[in-house]
């Protein structure tokens, strides 16, 4: 059962991911954003399969909820109708295929050469309590730094999108 679910979610994630970057029917950023939400949701499904329940929730709440809404806001704000006519250029597609293909090939070859040899039965449970304990003990320092980082981002966003310059 779990295996079948894996294949379903993996397929969905990849299919939606493909539609984000190279939707054959629409170049509209809104469409891309919508498919990105779906990709993220499929990934949340994979997270659940990996028993990372907390992260699955965060993924849906933060990513699909907050981040993508931000994206959509900006797209609406910018009124990018002209962008819909964007065409892919051959050179750029070839360049993208070459580099992405090369990296993918090397990665798969590496995976075949030295497969990750961990075959014990997985037991790690990404519950909120376990993660919370770790986060506020061993990982307290990065946690605090991230709070500074969020402050920086906040200051930056206010400055960059303030309407009047004075």
């Amino acid at each position: 059962m779990q295996d079948i679910l894996f294949y379903i979610f993996a397929y969905l994630a990849l299919q939606f991911g493909f539609l984000v970057v190279a939707n054959p029917f629409s170049r509209n950023p809104v469409t891309s954003a919508m498919f990105l939400v779906l990709t993220i949701a499929s990934l949340a499904g994979l997270f659940v399969l990996l028993h990372a329940f907390f992260l699955a929730a965060v993924q849906v709440l933060v990513y699909a909820g907050a981040v993508m809404v931000l994206f959509l806001f900006v797209i609406m704000l910018l009124d990018l109708r002209a962008e819909e006519r964007e065409r892919l250029r051959t050179f750029e597609v070839v360049a993208g295929l070459i580099s992405a293909g090369a990296i993918l090939f090397i990665f798969l070859a590496t995976l075949v050469h030295s497969p990750p040899g961990i075959q014990q039965s997985p037991t790690a449970e990404g519950g909120t309590i376990a993660l919370g304990r770790l986060l506020f003990s061993h990982y307290l320092l990065p946690f605090e730094i991230v709070s500074v980082l969020l402050l920086v981002a906040m200051v930056g966003v206010v400055l960059l999108s303030k309407k009047n310059l004075k």
């Binding site: 061993h138 200051v155 930056g156 400055l159």
Partner: protein, 518 residues
């Protein structure tokens, strides 16, 4: 756990927050002076660091379960960053007129970037590495695009953002692979298992991608492509901080990862490092040749200098690592002097063409001399700091030449790069002393703090070039910390878990049982 251990970072963060708060009550006219407050604060922290911060007997102290490390290397870099930020803040005050809004935030963000650097040089764990790198990078995204009225500044910001985010994804993927194959995130724990993973290509893959992210920070080939555009477009004080702080933070992490976490694997990468160093040197110097924009020229030249410093990484020896630190110290004074001059001369000018320097000799002999000396030092002419740094780097590489002849080639190419660089550095000097008619013949007023900063930079350049001994002693001590600590830890016990448990208990109190980590 000793709270005082993180005092540098706390104080800088408090200073930054204080500035943001002070902005609320101060009248707009007084905000410019806040830069002096910030600079004064940084100076006080630097003074505190030099006078009161001492390492314990063992030379090293850990916090947060060995995630944070304070050793002579970290302390060296912390003082280095504080010094750099001090000069950058003074520069920003001069630059204030060019920043339309959010002057206080500009100072505060500089301080937050500084805090990121202070954390980065103490990172002993991939988590802290990632988070502190991001703090630096995101602060710089904003600092780069701060002059919103200038399209170039925004364009530089967007380019830095996209390429930076790209490099972040590579880094995260790399960390994932390293973590997945070794099960470790701590550098010293990794050092214990790394020798068994030499044959594991997935592990190497991950490690290489972590280096991609760091290579982006230091602008090494082939991840240097963003540097010229961003250097050109960013406000001058930001460019200076980028050239010094961000690059040095990158090198601090390169040293930690390569020589603390995976020395056994680094030892096998000498070929790769030699090639990257050589190509970086050639690329930077060749591209700088036809350059007319001074900031862009310095962008290319910073690529070349990253190449020289990679020579010290490639040397795979304590002498090489010490030479990098020495070179960075010289580079600090030199680049700060150069950017201070550029900032003063070109602040009202769009397009920093070299010809704008014409007649500088008449407008301000002091600035002209400082700029000329900085160029001489960058070119590596004795008796300036740049010469001695290069000498130490070349020496370190040559000392390895017996084992592998590639080092001779590398030094040869580096010397070729130095010769090429003479052309463009002397082009700048020539422009300064070129009589011609200056585009704007008015004398340039130099404020007292900037005067002090320039004098300090020039003195630093001469001191490092003429009397290197004190700093060399310092840097070799700092470099020796890299491997000694790992050895000490693995010699005393197999204690990966012990300190973590102890520190957790102390935080959560005796009542709560230590969580059993799966």
């Amino acid at each position: 756990m000793n709270i005082a251990l993180l005092s540098h970072e706390w104080l800088v963060l408090l200073l930054g927050l204080g500035l943001l708060l002070a902005d609320l009550w101060l009248p707009p006219a007084a905000r410019r002076k806040l830069g002096y407050v910030a600079a004064l604060g940084v100076a006080a922290i630097l003074l505190y660091s030099i006078l009161f911060v001492r390492l314990p007997a063992g030379g090293v102290e850990y916090a947060f379960g060995r995630m944070y490390i304070l050793d002579s290397l970290a302390l060296f870099f912390k003082r280095f960053f504080l010094l750099a930020a001090l000069a950058v803040l003074l520069m920003s005050v001069e630059f204030a007129a060019e920043i339309q809004s959010g002057l206080t935030e500009y100072y505060a963000l500089t301080l937050f970037a500084l805090a990121g650097m202070l954390f980065a040089c103490s990172a002993n764990d991939f988590t802290l590495l990632f988070v502190s790198l991001e703090l630096i990078t995101i602060s710089f995204y904003i600092l780069t695009s701060f002059q919103r009225a200038r399209t170039l500044s925004l364009e530089a910001g967007v380019k830095y953002l996209i390429i930076g985010a790209l490099s972040t994804s590579f880094t995260v993927f790399g960390i994932a692979l390293v973590y997945g194959t070794s099960g470790k995130l701590n550098f010293q724990d990794l050092a214990a298992v790394a020798p068994q993973l030499i044959g594991n290509k997935l592990f190497l893959f991950g490690l290489l991608w972590v280096m991609v992210g760091l290579g982006f920070k230091i602008a090494a080939f082939p991840f240097q492509i963003w540097a010229p555009d961003v250097y050109q477009g960013a406000p001058s004080p930001t460019t200076a901080f980028l050239a010094i702080g961000s690059k040095a933070a990158g090198f601090a992490l390169v040293l930690r990862v390569l020589f603390t976490a995976v020395p056994a694997i680094t030892a096998q990468w000498s070929h790769l490092l030699i090639v990257i160093s050589a190509v970086t040197i050639l690329y930077g110097n060749l591209c700088a040749l036809p350059q007319r924009n001074v900031k862009r020229l310095l962008g290319y030249s910073s690529i070349a200098h990253a190449g020289y410093m990679l020579l010290g990484v490639a040397a795979l020896s304590a002498a090489g690592q010490s030479a990098i630190l020495y070179y960075l110290s010289g580079y600090l004074f030199t680049v700060l002097a150069a950017f201070t001059v550029i900032c003063l001369v070109m602040r009202h000018a769009e397009g920093e063409d070299i010809s704008r320097l014409a007649g500088l000799n008449q407008r301000s002999p002091l600035l002209a001399a400082a700029m000329a000396l900085a160029m001489v030092s960058l070119a590596g002419v004795p008796p300036m700091a740049g010469f001695f740094g290069k000498f130490l780097l070349f020496k370190a590489a040559l000392a390895q030449g017996a084992t592998q002849h590639g080092y001779y080639w590398l030094v040869g190419i580096a010397i070729l790069g130095v010769v090429i660089s003479l052309y463009y550095y002397f082009g700048v000097i020539r422009a300064i002393y070129w009589p011609g008619n200056a585009p704007d013949p008015s004398p340039i007023p130099v404020s007292r703090p900037i005067l002090l900063s320039i004098y300090a930079c020039v003195a630093g350049m001469f001191f490092l070039g003429l009397y290197p001994n004190p700093v060399v002693t310092l840097t070799s001590k700092a470099a020796s910390a890299l491997q000694a600590e790992t050895a000490a830890i693995h010699a005393t016990a197999t204690l990966p878990k012990a300190p973590r448990a102890a520190w957790t208990r102390s935080l959560l109190g005796p009542a709560s049982a230590a969580p059993s980590r799966p």
